[in-house]
């Protein structure tokens, strides 16, 4: 290390944390890659890796190059139309929920905030149900994620207004407001469903959608979710310094020049886009937005510039692996994804929490 860097303590700090960051990504990126590979390669039907490779060649390379590649229709359907979209949807849903968790935790200054806990998830479900009931989803598939985002946004505004006074959000009030409004939104969604039971086709569609999960996801689901998640994460990355300051308190943020009101509006909108996009294609999947940011924060620290992209990638890989577990642990039945995330997430979360308390709150 040069003499300049040694004389400057801050240069040391930044180089050290950069090293830590490179070590982190050195582990994370192979895990992400392997989880995607495993998600495509492993399933109830055994398909050899060479077949998967041939399908990939057949679909991705120009036709003139692949005329000699022989792929059966069944293999192509299983790999390209069933497994690949499912894995991609899982990845983006996980990334979106984890990033939304990071945003909400900074917005509410509370590591417990999560799309499912602060009402955004149920708000998105209600928005989706409305788009079915009104028939908008039949005229345009885009209306489903858009309505889910509107629902999540309204829910966040309501919960924020209920739980925050003068820039301060007590934990108990936040959780109560989240639970109460979640119950309200889900009651309204059920009411809409009951009223529309006479129209069996719509009701069936709604029930199927509300059950969520990642089975039978298609490329349409990929296009309904991925662009919004990418947009949401890009927007979040532009706000990381505002996030850091807001996390220390609204008055502090304002005194350092943050436009608190407009920042909060942007944050809420971004969190709603991420939550809505995830819920629209996979239903409400708990624990990802709570667990992933928490775990990554313990490793990388709370700085949102590092936390956000790392959480998104980790969340994506986590959900791909959970989904893989859900469909392979007890074949041919699939376990519901929410059960797996809760079973994986719950104990790990409790462990992290205990460690945090014992270690003198260094999370």
């Amino acid at each position: 290390m040069s003499a300049v860097a040694q004389s400057n303590p801050l240069a040391n700090v930044s180089s050290r944390s950069r090293l830590r960051l490179s070590v982190f990504y050195g582990f994370l990126l192979p895990i992400v890659f392997l989880s995607l590979l495993a998600g495509v390669g492993i399933g109830s039907t055994h398909i050899s890796w060479s077949t998967i490779l041939r399908v990939a060649e057949f679909r991705l390379l120009p036709q003139a190059w692949t005329s000699s590649v022989h792929v059966t229709k069944a293999d192509e359907v299983i790999v390209w139309l069933i497994r690949v979209p499912r894995v991609i949807v899982a990845f983006f849903v996980g990334a979106g929920l984890a990033a939304a968790g990071v945003l909400l935790q900074a917005l509410f200054r509370n590591p417990l905030a999560e799309p499912g806990l602060v009402g955004a998830g149920e708000g998105a479900v209600l928005g989706g149900v409305i788009s079915f009931v009104t028939g908008w989803s039949a005229t345009s598939v885009l209306s489903l994620p858009l309505m889910a985002m509107v629902g999540a946004l309204l829910a966040l505004f309501i919960v924020y207004a209920m739980s925050t006074r003068g820039g301060v959000t007590p934990v108990a009030t936040l959780l109560l407001a989240g639970v109460a409004s979640s119950a309200l939104f889900s009651a309204v969604a059920s009411l809409l469903l009951s009223v529309n039971v006479v129209n069996w086709q719509i009701a069936q569609e709604i029930v199927f959608w509300m059950m969520g999960g990642l089975d039978a996801r298609t490329w349409t689901h990929v296009w309904l979710c991925a662009p919004f998640v990418v947009l949401g994460i890009a927007a979040s990355l532009m706000q990381t310094r505002d996030l850091d300051l807001l996390q220390l308190g609204e008055e502090t943020a304002a005194s350092f020049g943050v436009d608190v009101e407009s920042s909060k509006r942007m944050l809420t909108l971004t969190a709603a886009i991420l939550t809505g996009a995830a819920v629209a294609v996979a239903g409400l999947i708990g624990f990802v937005g709570l667990l992933i940011p928490h775990a990554v924060r313990l490793i990388l620290g709370p700085s949102n510039r590092r936390l956000l992209p790392a959480s998104a990638l980790t969340g994506g890989a986590f959900l791909v692996l959970c989904d893989l577990l859900a469909r392979t642990i007890h074949p041919p039945t699939e376990i519901r994804l929410g059960i797996v995330t809760a079973l994986c997430g719950g104990p790990l979360f409790i462990y992290l929490l205990l460690r945090q308390y014992r270690g003198g709150a260094n999370g």
Binding site: P9, A11, M238, S303, A361
Partner: protein, 268 residues
Amino acid sequence: MSVLEARNASVKRGGRTIFGPASVRIGAGEITALIGPNGSGKSTLLRLFAGLWRPDDGEMLIDGKALHSLPRKEMARRVAFVPQETQIDFAFTVSEILAMGRYAHRGRFSPQSQVDHDAINCAAAYCDITHLIDRAINTLSGGERQRVLIARSLVVEPEFILLDEPTANLDIHHALDVLQLCESLSREGKTVIVATHDFNLVTRYVTRLILLQGGLLIAEGPQKDVLGPETIREIFQVEAEMVPMKTGHPVYVFQQRTREIHDSRASR
């Protein structure tokens, strides 16, 4: 050099005037204490000066210009605010906390420049926290945390530094430490305003006192003009005796007013 000024400023909450109207000027290089009992309006006046609150009537001026006509970031670059609550639950490192002080100097996408680094190093050295730079803020003691937050306000390179009850959560050793730091800042040409209820501690370090009660400005000036035993009895409801110290600064010794002790016993 700049001047902060309140001109007939008042604050209303729920239709009731909770502060003012008050007019006061704070000139460059001064170190001023806003003192008064709890609820007297010192925190309100500090927030008005910091531009965190807007007066409902009257105006706040910086160099004769309305404070709120300044762009938010420019205001933040000129007036720094150190909050009373120093507890931070997230494990940001001290260097991350200090870097946040450069928010108003950096564009959204610009990386930290050499100027930013220098400001951070300089402030850390000045507040004697260079050895803490790698530590997580939530593992520091109260006195260390207070020094970190004062350093963060220096990182801004402001003209004014406003501190809300900087000694409230500190033991006497660290409290004097922090006040000495404030005094040396004012000698460096920063204008310092300290809101505190502990006037016994601050009188040694400040050049001027502003006494508030019930949201109104009662008196202002040097200690001997503002804080006589009669004023203390009236405003703080205690008997006070001034005891001269070797340094030449008097300290106050307090005693509960005897009549009130009887009153409170009678009411039980």
